[in-house]
C-alpha cells in the first residue's frame, strides 16, 4: 500500500446523511474480479442518467470538483453493505479522505485497508468544512494525518482523533497481513490450545 501523504486538495461537498454503499457503488459493478477501474462508476446512479450521460448537477460532474481528493459528507457515511468496492471506487476516482460526523463501522475499517483516511469531526466542524468545500476549486483544504488536523481554506484548524495503530499503518503504507504473519507463532500456540479446549470447532 502507498504511504498516506499530507493532502492539499479540493474538497467536494456531499451534504446528505446515510450515504450507503449501494449509492457509492451500485451492485451491477460488484461483478468485477479486480480491485481497479471502479472510479468511473463511483456514485453511478447519482452521477449518470440511464443513457450514461453525466447529470450536470451532481457535485463530482461539476468542473470545480472533478479533481476532488476529499469528500465532506453527512452522518453515517458508508452504511449498508460490507462491499470494499466502495473504498476501491473512491480511491480509483482519486478520493483520499472522507470527512463526516460519523461513519458505518465496516466502511470505516475498509477505508484504512485501502489508504483512505476517514475523519470523524463534530457536526459543527463538518458544517464549517461543508461551507468551505462549497467554494469550489479555489478553496484548498489541507489534511495532515501526522498532525491529525484538517485546515480549511480560511486557515481554521480542526483536530481529529484516529486510532494510533491505524495511523501508523496508513502513514507507513503497511500491509496488515504481513504484520500479522509476524505473529504466526502466537497463532500456532492459540490454535493448539483451542484444539484442546474446544476440539469440536
Amino acid at each position: 500500500m502507498e504511504k498516506f501523504e499530507k493532502i492539499t486538495g479540493i474538497a467536494a461537498p456531499l451534504p446528505l446523511v446515510n450515504i450507503d454503499t449501494d449509492m457509492i457503488i451500485p451492485k451491477q459493478f460488484l461483478k468485477t474480479i479486480k480491485r481497479s477501474g471502479l472510479g468511473v462508476n463511483l456514485f453511478d446512479e447519482m452521477r449518470y442518467d440511464r443513457q450514461g450521460n453525466e447529470i450536470p448537477d451532481f457535485v463530482l460532474n461539476q468542473p470545480a470538483y472533478r479533481e476532488a481528493e476529499i469528500l465532506v459528507a453527512g452522518e453515517n457515511f458508508g452504511c449498508g453493505s460490507s462491499r470494499e468496492h466502495a473504498p476501491w471506487a473512491l480511491k480509483d476516482f482519486g478520493i483520499k479522505c472522507v470527512i463526516a460526523p460519523s461513519f458505518a463501522d465496516i466502511f470505516y475499517s475498509n477505508c484504512f485497508k485501502n489508504g483512505i483516511l476517514p475523519i470523524v469531526l463534530p457536526q459543527e466542524a463538518v458544517d464549517v468544512l461543508m461551507k468551505d468545500a462549497e467554494k469550489g476549486s479555489n478553496a484548498r483544504m489541507v489534511v495532515d494525518l501526522e498532525a491529525q488536523t484538517v485546515t480549511s481554506s480560511d486557515g481554521e484548524v480542526f483536530s481529529f482523533d484516529v486510532d494510533s495503530f491505524k495511523k501508523h499503518c496508513l502513514l507507513n503504507g503497511l500491509d496488515d497481513i504481513g504484520l500479522t504473519m509476524e505473529k504466526a507463532g502466537a497463532i500456532d500456540t492459540f490454535e493448539a490450545q483451542a484444539a484442546q479446549a474446544r476440539p469440536w470447532v
Partner: protein, 468 residues
C-alpha cells in the same frame, strides 16, 4: 472474576494477542465465503504466494449472482460477468481445498442460511464473512460480523482479524408479542427506535421474554438486521432451543464432543451484573406489524400510520426524508395501507427460512394474488425449498400465483436477473430499502413475510391482521 457480557466471554476466548492500545488479534473459527467479495482476496493470496491457513474452517457457496429460475445449471442463464465470478469461486474453492456447495448441490443457498443449516455455525464461535449480514449467525450466541475483502484475505491467510473491542449494548424486548407481529417487526422496530447509526461501535445482545419466545429462525431474522442498526454484530444467548436446533446437523459435534461443547455453551450468557454501555428497552406489546416508507431501514412505521411530513424531522433528516419521499413517490399524510404495489419478493437471508415460508403460505392459502401482480418466493437454500415442497407450501404459493424459485439472494440486492424496473414498487421481506437497491429507481417497502403475503393478495400494503 468480574462480571462479563456474552460478548466479553466470546471475545476473551478468542484473543490471540493484545497490544497495549487494545488492538487485538482475534482468532476466527468459521470463515464463510461467497463469490462477490472474495475473488480479489484469493487473487491477493496467489500474488503473495500464500495459502489458506485453515481450509477446514472455510466454507464457500455462490449466492449473490446466481439465477433463481429453474434450469439455471445451464450457464447461458447467467450474464458473462456473473458467470466469471461464479467460475472464479468454483476454481478458488478447488485450488485452496475449502468446503464448497456449488450451484448444482441441493445444499446450496444463501451463505447465512447454509451455515446454520449445515451446523457450521455453533454457539461461542467467531464467524466472519465478506457480507454485512453475517450478523445473522449471532442468533446462536456466536460473535459474527461482516468484513471487507482485505479482511477476507487477512482471514484466509492468517485465520485471524485485527480488531478493537466494541462496546456492549443491550436491547431488551419485554413481554409477549401481539398476534400478527413477528421477528421482522421486532428488528425493524428496534432500528426505527435507535436509527441506522444507533448501534455503531457496539455489539448488540438481544434479550427479554419476546426474544426467548422466538424460534431459531426468528432469532436469525432479528440478528440479521443488527447491521441495519449500525452494529456489526447482534447476539442472542444460546438456550435449549439453540441446542435442539444444532444437535444432529452435519457439522455439529457428536458424542463426547457434544457433551464437552454443551458444558461450555451453557456458560454463554451475560452475567447479571455485567456492564452495559447502552441499554434500549421496548415492550413487546407495543410492537405493531410495521413497514418502511422511505429509503433507510430506520424509516419504519406501523402499517396503520400515515406517510410522515419531512418537516417533522430534525437536522439532516429533514432533507433526507424529503429526498426519500420524492424517490418513493409518496406524499405526507397518505395512509400507508393505501399504497399500491406491483411486486412481492419473499426470500433473502433475513426471511428466506422455512418458518418465513410457512407464515407467508398461511396468509395466501386458498387465495389468489392480485391480478397483474408479480410475486415470487425464493427459498433461502435448496434444503428449505425441498422442505417447503414436502410440507405442501410450494403448492400453496403456486396455486396462489407466486413464482416458485431456486435458492439465492435474488431480488434482495438484484445482482441476478431479478430486478425492479424504474418506478416499480415492491413489498419485500429483505433488509435494505436503499435507493436503487432492488433495481434502478425501484421502490422498496420492507416488511415481514406475512405482511408481504398479505400485500400480494390485496395489491396494496396491508395490515396482515385483517386477513387473519
Amino acid at each position: 472474576m468480574s462480571p462479563k457480557t456474552l460478548y466479553d466471554k466470546i471475545w476473551d476466548a478468542h484473543v490471540v494477542h493484545e497490544d497495549a492500545d487494545g488492538t487485538s488479534l482475534l482468532y476466527i473459527d468459521r470463515h464463510l465465503v461467497h463469490e462477490v467479495t472474495s475473488p480479489q482476496a484469493f487473487e491477493g493470496l496467489r500474488m503473495a504466494g500464500r495459502q489458506v491457513r485453515a481450509p477446514g474452517k472455510t466454507i464457500a457457496v455462490p449466492d449473490h449472482n446466481v439465477p433463481t429460475t429453474p434450469g439455471r445449471e445451464n450457464p447461458d442463464q447467467m450474464p458473462e460477468d456473473s458467470r466469471i465470478q461464479v467460475a472464479a469461486l468454483d476454481k478458488n474453492a478447488q485450488d485452496f481445498g475449502i468446503h464448497y456447495y456449488p450451484v448444482s448441490d441441493v445444499r446450496q443457498g444463501i451463505v447465512h442460511i447454509v451455515g446454520p443449516e449445515q451446523g457450521w455455525t455453533l454457539p461461542g464461535m467467531t464467524v466472519v464473512c465478506g457480507d454485512s449480514h453475517t450478523a445473522t449467525h449471532g442468533a446462536f450466541g456466536a460473535l459474527a460480523h461482516g468484513i471487507g475483502t482485505s479482511e477476507v484475505e487477512h482471514v484466509l491467510a492468517t485465520q485471524t482479524l485485527i480488531q478493537k473491542k466494541s462496546k456492549n449494548m443491550k436491547v431488551e424486548i419485554t413481554g409477549k408479542l401481539r398476534p400478527g407481529v413477528t421477528a421482522k417487526d421486532i428488528t425493524l422496530s428496534v432500528i426505527g427506535e435507535t436509527g441506522t447509526a444507533g448501534g455503531t461501535g457496539y455489539v448488540i445482545e438481544y434479550c427479554g421474554e419476546a426474544i426467548r419466545d422466538l424460534s431459531m429462525e426468528g432469532r436469525m431474522t432479528v440478528c440479521n438486521m443488527a447491521i441495519e442498526g449500525g452494529a456489526r454484530a447482534g447476539l442472542i444467548a444460546p438456550d435449549e432451543k439453540t441446542f435442539e436446533y444444532v444437535e444432529g446437523r452435519p457439522h455439529a459435534p457428536k458424542g463426547a464432543q457434544w457433551e464437552a461443547a454443551m458444558e461450555w455453551w451453557k456458560t454463554l450468557y451475560s452475567d447479571d451484573d455485567a456492564h452495559w454501555d447502552k441499554v434500549v428497552t421496548i415492550r413487546g406489546e407495543d410492537i405493531a406489524p410495521v413497514v418502511t416508507w422511505g429509503t433507510s431501514p430506520e424509516d419504519v412505521l406501523p402499517i396503520t400510520a400515515e406517510v410522515p411530513d419531512p418537516a417533522s424531522f430534525a437536522g439532516g433528516k429533514v432533507s433526507a426524508a424529503q429526498r426519500a419521499l420524492d424517490y418513493m413517490g409518496l406524499k405526507p399524510g397518505q395512509k400507508l395501507s393505501d399504497i399500491e404495489i406491483d411486486t412481492v419478493f419473499i426470500g433473502s437471508c433475513t426471511n428466506g427460512r422455512i418458518e418465513d415460508l410457512r407464515a407467508a403460505a398461511a396468509v395466501v392459502k386458498g387465495k389468489k394474488i392480485k391480478e397483474g401482480m408479480r410475486a415470487m418466493v425464493v427459498p433461502g437454500s435448496g434444503l428449505v425449498r425441498a422442505q417447503a415442497e414436502e410440507e405442501g407450501l410450494a403448492d400453496i404459493f403456486k396455486e396462489a400465483g407466486f413464482e416458485w424459485r431456486m435458492a439465492g439472494c435474488s431480488m434482495c440486492l438484484a445482482m441476478n436477473p431479478d430486478q425492479l424496473s424504474e418506478g416499480e414498487r415492491c413489498a419485500s421481506t429483505s433488509n435494505r430499502n436503499f435507493e436503487g437497491r432492488q433495481g434502478y429507481k425501484g421502490r422498496t417497502h420492507l416488511m415481514s413475510p406475512a405482511m408481504a403475503a398479505a400485500a400480494a393478495v390485496t395489491g396494496r400494503l396491508t395490515d396482515v391482521r385483517e386477513l387473519m
